[in-house]
Amino acid sequence: MSRWRFLDYYTDDEPPRNAIQAWYNRQEISVKAAFDATLTTLLGIEDWADKDVREFKLFKEGEFAGLGELRFYITDKGKKRKFRIPGIWRPEHHEFILLGGCEKSGRIKIPQDAFEIAMSLKLAWERDGRGSIHEHK
């Protein structure tokens, strides 16, 4: 089985911006642990597209078509808090490029524009060849 890799996208600004690292650094420690555990388990899951893999979803249509998202939630004081990590899913390379993160409650996302930013980063990388990707740490 080929092992998956997670990659961070860096803009070509000076200094470069890394959306996933910026999001991660703002999170509470419980969210960081759940995020790290989710990535660890996904590394070993061969078929992310399987309908029973609840940690991943690919947008096939709509505003964010082409983006994938990692999904996890934590239970905080009895309340479910859901998180979404948008990125570029590249099954042919066994890679997922992390483009940011957000907390989701119904139609509300925090930050609200996380997916719009992810989409613009995806275009910058894929269409314009801007920025660079590095192994996620």
Partner: protein, 185 residues
């Protein structure tokens, strides 16, 4: 792509465990997510539906579905039922953090199906080899003062003798717990 270290080297995982709250939460999060993933993987390898696993485990499909939800934990009882449904064993175990890091690596490598009891039985040599392996049990070294009382290894002391020697501030060279336990047999 520039060459940078992977997120998942053992040293990097170890370094993140420096924060006690983080390591507690990571254990909680990874234990439930890994178990859910392993159940789902074995079920898929055997091409079983959740209903089939539920029937084999004497559980409801709803319980199996929740067991496979990586965000939810499961009880030891349910975990044992599910393992039994696969004709496999379940072993809850407290381990050191260095063992935990090694297990994180295993999780990131992915799970596969495992042989049932009957399948194992057919592989006599394989079973014998597993049965004769040294147990993977981390041993705690005794505190320095107790280690002194345990002696040099030439003579075995009962716990009472050790206590007496400690209370007298006894002089003796260090030994380790493994060796003492071994001599006590």
């Amino acid at each position: 792509m520039e060459g940078e270290a992977s997120m998942s080297t053992n040293e990097e995982i170890w370094a993140k465990l420096e924060n006690k709250e983080y390591r507690k939460l990571l254990v909680e999060q990874l234990a439930k997510r890994a178990f859910a993933t392993q159940v789902r993987t074995i079920r898929k390898c055997r091409e079983w539906s959740q209903e089939k696993l539920a029937k084999e485990s004497d559980l409801t499909q709803g319980v199996v579905s929740r067991t496979e939800d990586p965000n939810l934990g499961t009880t030891f009882d349910t975990a044992a039922e599910v393992a039994s449904g696969f004709d496999l064993a379940f072993i809850p175990k407290i381990v050191t953090f260095s063992e935990f890091v090694r297990w994180v690596q295993e999780v990131s490598e992915g799970f596969t199906d495992l042989p049932t009891f009957e399948e194992e039985k057919a592989d006599v040599d394989g079973v014998r080899q597993t049965l004769n392996q040294e147990p993977l049990v981390a041993k705690k070294k005794p505190p320095a003062k107790a280690a002194q009382a345990w002696g040099s290894g030439d003579e075995y002391k009962t716990p009472d003798e050790m206590a007496a020697q400690l209370s007298k501030g006894g002089q003796s060279s260090s030994g380790d717990l493994t060796a003492i336990v071994g001599r006590g047999r």
